[in-house]
Structure formats: C-alpha cells, structure tokens
Symmetry: C2
Subunit: 205 residues, 2 copies
C-alpha cells in the first residue's frame, strides 16, 4: 500500500534519478517511479508534471555544476593550460560529488526534448573545453602533435569513465581498493587523472 | 511478413548485436530480434538456443580478440612498460575493429549466467593489465607516485570510452572531424591515446 507522501521535490528527485540509472530513462514508467518511491502516481504529479520534468531537473543540476566550474574565479588570470588542468580536476570532483546526476546526464540519448536540450548543453561544455585545449597548444604549453578535437574527446572520455566504476565509500557491494581512493570526495582521483593527462605515466628523472 | 531465412548464424549475430546495443540486452525480446531480422522466431531458434546464446557468442568474440592481444609474439621479450604500451595500442584497435561486439561487452551488467561469465573474463583481462602497470612501475619505467590499481582503472576507462563516441567512417549521422581520425582502423586514435597515457599533454622541449 502506498505510504503517505512525505517527499519534497528534492527527495523525490533523488529516488527518480536512482531508478533512471538502473532501468534507463526510456525503460522507466511513472508506475516504476511510484513503486520505487512507495507513493501513488498522483502524489508524484503533485510534485512534478511527469518523468520528463524529473529528468530535466536532474540533468540541469548536473550541467549547472559543470558550467559553474568554467566560471570559477580561480580561472580568471591563468593561462589556458592551467585553466584546463583546473577544469579537469574540478570536473572530476563534480562528477564524484554529483555522481547519480552526472551519470544520468552521461547516459542521455536524445529521445525527448529534455534530453536533446541536455545534449546541447553538454556539447557547449565540451566545445568550451576543446577551446581551452586549442588555446593551450597555441600558447605553447601543450604538445602540438595531437589533434585538439581528438585530444578533447579522449580526456573527456577519461573523466566521464570514472562514473562507470567509482562508487562512494559505504556502498559496500562495489567496495574495493581503488574505490577507497574516492573517500575524500574524489580529490585523489582528480589528482591522479590530471597528473596522467598532463604528465603521462612515463618516469622522468 | 517474415522473409525467407537466408541468415547464417554469423549474419544473424551481427543483427542481434546491433539490436542489443540500441535497446539494451535486458530490454530485447526474441520478438524484437525476429522483427529486426525480418524472420520468424522459430527461424532464429533454428540457429541458436535463444538470446542468451547470441549474447554469449557476441561477447566471446569481443573477449577472444582482447585476450589474443595479450598473447601476441611481439610481447615476448619486451619490458613491462613496452608491453603495456603495445597492449593499449592494440586493445584500442581491437575496440575499433570489433566496435559493436566490444560495445556490447562493455555494457554487460551481470543479470544472466552468460553476462556473469563475460564479466569474469573482463576482470581477468583487467587484472592482467593491472599486473603490467605494477611490473612497469617496479622496473622503474613508470612514475611511482600513482596507485597502480587506480591507474589501471583510469587507462581502461579511457580506452573503453572510445566506444562512446567513435563511429566508423561512413556512418554519416555521427560523422565529424575526430571520427575521420578513425578511418584507418583506429590506428591514429590508438597512437594518440598511447601518447597521452605515456607522455602526457605537457610540452617538453
């Protein structure tokens, strides 16, 4: 029997994002959401217009977090390479901090208006970061023998792939040594990733 | 109306993998497969025992290709760092060559025996490559300030992420500059990726 609706839109959103990530957004019905939340469908409609609004709220949160990184004051006077390192590091931390929301964003496929709007903003973000890569090459701080677009794709693939294996400390089923590395909110994952991208693995003495 | 079954198990498999990648393996019914192939369900059962056998055939192909890389003669007398570079480069090319099969493998979630067997072999592959990372650090060729397990996760995340954006030349809808980079069978993607991982982006004069 449905329980009394004690949800806020915020706490309902958190349940919905979890269901979307397990079943896929397309594969999730309002019925599934009601069941997972333990309330009736009409209680959900009291909070939002439907599942597309839940998706929109969720991916907007993820995107706002990512775009905020690009506008942080730390970046104002830095060269492009330093800005890029900062954005990589902070994006990685954002991914860990907002994991379910960013994971959902990364799986968006574009079958609805809300999804297409999210893909447009993702592309804009990627475009701005690709601009940093090009600028850093022009400023002479990054190697010039790699294609800037291909390089941007690779480093974003790398950042995004963290969502495939990272699980917050405490989610015991997936716990392992390299997950403990994320116990500090992703700072050491971010540091390892940024070191890998800028310095590479080869030892230099 | 279903057309006459002119499929081999091979060509049927290729249709099935495409459907699995679009709808998800769990979301695909025998009905969906029959519809996509344009033949009856009983014609499909003439080739295979069911959709789980199609999954097993598909992921086995992907895994056999990846494991073959580890046993190539080029690796026999090389140091661990050189072996790792070779494995990264060749794995990346395998991913591009076998894209739909590897993509399916990377999405396997473990809800059936065939999926769990595939996950076990994937883990074994990751484990062997993580061993190369550790050995290369011990041999003094790779920097020792990064955790080997975390490093392995990051570089495999990077390789696997190529499946998220790479589309073979000719699939026009997704065509773009950085896709053209894969027109040679992934060799330049593999080279850029291996350079990034070993040398990093920072320019050194």
């Amino acid at each position: 029997m449905p329980r009394r609706d004690t949800y806020t839109t915020e706490s309902l959103l958190s349940v919905a994002v979890e269901v979307f990530n397990v079943r896929g957004y397309d594969g999730t019905s309002m019925e599934d959401l009601a069941k997972a939340a333990g309330i009736s469908k009409s209680s959900i409609y009291h909070h939002v217009a439907g599942k597309e609004e839940l998706l929109r709220l969720a991916v907007t949160r993820a995107l706002d977090g990512l775009f905020a990184v690009l506008d942080e004051p730390a970046l104002a006077d830095a060269g492009a390479a330093q800005q890029l390192a900062y954005v990589l590091d902070r994006t990685c931390q954002e991914l860990v901090r907002n994991l379910p929301y960013v994971t959902l964003l990364l799986r968006v496929r574009g079958n609805s208006a809300a999804e297409r709007a999210a893909l447009d903003r993702r592309r804009e973000f990627d475009h701005r970061v690709a601009g940093l890569v090009s600028a850093a090459i022009e400023e002479g701080d990054l190697r010039s023998d790699l294609d800037p677009r291909l390089t941007s794709r690779l480093i974003f693939g790398l950042v995004n792939s963290v969502s495939e294996w990272y699980r917050p400390a405490g989610e015991a089923a997936a716990a392992s040594e390299s997950n403990r590395a994320g116990a500090d909110g992703g700072q050491d994952i971010a540091k390892a990733l940024t070191t890998l991208v800028f310095e590479g693995l080869r030892r230099r003495d």
